[in-house]
Amino acid sequence: MDIKRRQFLKIAGLSTIAGIGAPAAFNLLLKGQSPPVSFASSGAGAEAAHEAAPTGVRLGMVIDQRVFDANRGLAQRCITACHTVHNVPNFDNPKDEIKWIFKVPYEKAFTTMSHYHQNEHLHDSRFLVLCNHCDNPPCVRACPTKATFKRKKDGIVAMDYHRCIGCRFCMAACPYGMRSFNWRDPRPFIDKATYNKEFPTRMRGVVEKCNFCVERLAKGLQPACVEACGGSGAMIFGDLNDPGSEIRRVLDANFTIQRKPSLGTMAEASC
């Protein structure tokens, strides 16, 4: 990493994107929000690697790591919001663990990046990771029953828990480690106090993952994690194919990176 880049990171922190095409209704929600952060303008341009799919709505998400770095409790609030609204069980052991969105250090989120020496700031940062809703999702290719599929209208990679046979081919296929399996009955491990009757619980033996809150989008709501960010602008969600969208403005104005871009999944995870 050269001096310029390092200085840029110090000033600007990092921002991450995850995501894909969104319904038009969704973009409206983003209107009226103030720009998430004032990005330090720098020489670093957006990478060509995250060019959006040419046509249709393509929902995407930018994670502004600078906001998360400035507000250390925010990431956990996003996780809690997501896991609560989706009735994600809470196991206290890594073997049974189910997680839709979680915090990891930089080198785990971006395994293909290398730095001679990580600055302190980067070393202490924790990055939120979630399903990337890839343009070319390997999990969808692998699934033998179409239990996981890509929605044509908005590009969300969704799941049918009732069709999943639990072969876990999708877990082997996902290059980001974003899928979880119900190794045992999850229901006793869902917090009864916060149980959400409006979202189905899962049974044992099926795979699950982030669904970009399709159920909330259908009601005109934002994804739970984005909502948890309030007006902070830590997560920017919208249609990557709409030149007028906020997410596009953010991408235009900032240097962003994706997770494992060389795999060609078009993951839209950007920093």
């Binding site: 290719r141 033998p144 029953t145 069709r163 046979i165 639990g166 082997a172 190794w183 045992r184 044992r204």
Partner: protein, 386 residues
């Protein structure tokens, strides 16, 4: 012909009883797993496939290896294999049956298994694997049974069976190729993402399968009047030796590409398997035993003195079979999950129930094999007497 499996010596029934006991123990463990979920196994979010899928992968190879006796006999008219063709075919039947059972044991929702047919998905390699395995199972039962029936009646096999036999030859190659494609097409799993995986699978299969067949022939020679013959066994030895050497060559190619390119992702799993990665090396002892057994067995197969003696040949085949079983039945599948996509190292220890289910499936396979061999050998013995 099935009635021939219902009469036998005390030793036969004793062996059947042992197998049934293991099958029952496996079934009991499976009931527990079914009721609790796959959490009863040692698998986890990071190592999401374990011994079941590893055994499945290994046994597809054993099944495919049946072609190593079928091909020389039917395509090259190599008559010496005529006596043991049926053994190769029935070994394939038993192996594919185990494969299907291991897949079922590994499903989180086994009652939904037919969703693969109800919602056919050609972009999934698992869909194709299901097709090729079931067709291969059918081909081998069908061909084996028809040919054996003709042998019993002392007539030539019907001509219409020939197309099925010819189809079964490339089909054997296809089952292991498709099984390799389950792994070799996954982005981000560097250890599996290699074009040489399918040829490597075939090489190790054509070494391990016939090695098992040699052992079975030697056992059969002791417990029945049937002798496959020195020539047939030595020809199998030649096949095993070549295949084992080609397999070693392929493995060394993997090492070259990984370590000469020096790309971390390509080296990580090999490091983890053979030398330890960041101090973690759960499978290192296994892989070293596999390497050692592989080398010893290949030397024993190359040296004429040890190759020609039945006792040393048996030892060589056992060592080679164990070596290849560790390589594919443990290292390949479990190793491929380490490190995880987030570059974490997670150890995997199969649980007691998982091991019992695995043994139960193996016992089921040997039960099928025993019954089929009993029938086939009874027919052959009758013919020898008359």
């Amino acid at each position: 012909m099935l009635e021939k499996a219902l009469t036998g010596s005390n030793r036969y029934w004793g062996w059947i009883a042992v197998l049934l006991a293991f099958m029952a123990a496996g079934a009991l463990s499976y009931v527990q797993q079914y009721n609790y979920g796959l959490g009863l196994t040692g698998m986890s979010r990071d190592v999401s496939w374990g011994v079941y899928i590893a055994q499945f992968t290994f046994l597809v190879g054993v099944a495919a290896s049946g072609v190593m006796v079928v091909l020389p006999y039917y395509l090259h008219n190599y008559k010496t294999f005529g006596k043991i063709t049926i053994l190769g075919e029935f070994l394939a039947v038993a192996s594919v049956s185990m494969c299907l059972l291991f897949i079922l044991a590994d499903l989180g929702q086994p009652l939904r298994a037919l969703n693969v047919l109800l919602h056919p998905t050609p972009n999934s390699i698992l869909f194709w694997d299901m097709i090729v395995l079931n067709v291969y199972l059918f081909l081998n039962i069908f061909v084996g049974w028809v040919v054996l029936n003709a042998e019993k009646k002392e007539v030539a096999p019907p001509k219409w069976i020939k197309p099925f036999i010819y189809i079964s030859i490339p089909w054997a190659v296809s089952i292991h190729t498709v099984t390799a494609f389950l792994y070799a097409g996954l982005p981000g799993r560097h250890f599996w993402l290699t074009a040489i995986l399918a040829p490597r699978f075939l090489a190790s299969a054509f070494a391990g399968g016939p090695a098992l067949l040699i052992l079975l022939c030697l056992i059969i020679k002791r417990v029945t009047k049937f002798d496959a013959g020195q020539e047939a066994i030595q020809k199998l030895v030649t096949i095993v030796t070549y295949a084992a050497l080609i397999n070693v060559f392929f493995v060394l190619l993997e090492f070259f590409t990984a370590y000469y390119s020096n790309i971390p992702g390509h080296m990580h799993t090999l490091d983890y398997l053979f030398f330890g990665l960041h101090g973690e090396g759960q499978l290192v002892p296994w892989m070293r035993v596999s390497t050692l057994f592989g080398i010893i067995s290949i030397i024993m197969l190359l040296v004429p003195a040890t190759r020609k003696r039945e006792d040393t040949l048996a030892i060589a085949c056992i060592l080679l079979f164990i070596s290849l079983w560790i390589d594919k039945g443990i290292g390949l599948v479990i190793g491929g999950f380490v490190p995880s996509p987030l570059e974490e190292i997670t150890a995997y220890h199969p649980s007691f129930q998982e091991i019992m289910i695995t043994l139960g499936v193996w016992a089921t396979g040997f039960f099928i094999l025993t019954v089929l061999y009993k029938i086939a050998l009874a027919v052959k013995e009758e013919k020898m007497i008359s």
